[in-house]
Amino acid sequence: MAARRVALKAIDWVAFAERVPPNQRGMFNALKTRSDAIAAKLASLPEAPAAIDWSYYRSAVARIGMVDEFEKKFKALQIPAPVDTQTSTIDAQEAEATKSALVYTEACKARIAQYEKELDKLKNMIPFDEMTIEDLNDTFPETKLDKVKYPYWPHKPIADL
């Protein structure tokens, strides 16, 4: 028969579970149950089938030559290994995921840089006690009163007070 192929890599499901974000937990659980079922099925099958006791059959079966013929054909039989169609797809998916992950990481880094800049600005600003209105408008542009749009005091819609 065909040779043994032990290509299974040990997967740390605990570490995997940690990395899954909460909104994809359902998908992860489905994957895990599927994988467990497949692995259980594999484990339940013995590696090689039980050997046939040819000598017993040769003595038991009356028809001469039948057992010999069976034995010859049986030994000559080759079961081809099943063709692997999915691994290439998975590899392609992985490459694509790596690419998109790179893009996402870049975006993440940009966002982090922006947040850090804001954080630095807030940390290094002058204390409120020592600010003037101009300083406040510089640090927090949203406090600037639009004197062109609302020329009369209080320079903002009454509803916003």
Binding site: P21, P46, F70, D91, T105, I112, F128
Partner: protein, 259 residues
Amino acid sequence: MTQFNLISPINICNAWWLIHPPTVMASCGLVQASRCLHTSSQSLAPVPPLPEKPGKVRHGLIPEEFFQLLYPKTGVTGPYMLGTGLAIYMLSKEIYIINSSTLVALTVGSFFIYGVKKFGPSIAEFADKLNEEKVAKVQEVKDLAVAGLAQAIDREKKEQWRVEGRSLLFDAKRNNVAALLETNHRERLHMVTNEVKKRLDYQIALQNLHRQMEQEHMVNWVEKSVISSITPQQEKESIAKCITDLKALARNTQAKATA
């Protein structure tokens, strides 16, 4: 927000000092000096903050610097002597005339001073509290912003770490595929073996069945021929013999039972 300090109502002298810097003092030696404008040709930037407390004044009117000015020459009592002398001079020379306005001034002045002394501190506290509330509100906004940003940065870092684990998913998928292939292959092997075994067992079972049927048939046939060979005469004789045997057996058992 502009600095809002409730300072003593009469503080004209402080303003005077700002406009006319003391030339006698060294560099910026005011009694309360945190904001010295125009003392040197250098311009201060950023402009230092407004002072928290107003300049020191004695008796609510006269700045402390005046007393310091006169101290080297006339000692502690100098300014008082000057004040008394001036007052007496103005009264005696009738430069200042006492009339009804003086009484009014004294009365109003005393009420005014009483009012300020009694209610001044509490009003100052109230105004300070208003200011504090404003500052606290804005501070809270700032703190929330800082905390929110820190949290956002942490979240982004966590997401990046999550993304790093994507290889696990693909490993799991590949494992599944390999396991399925392996299972399929083994199933096929098992199926072949089982089928061959089934066929051989079938042959053996068939043989056994044949033999069994032949045996049964032969036994039946022998029995039939034996039964048919028994003649009626032989039958009667054998039945009579059986009865005598039975009687003898009964007598024997009876004897055994009584003995």
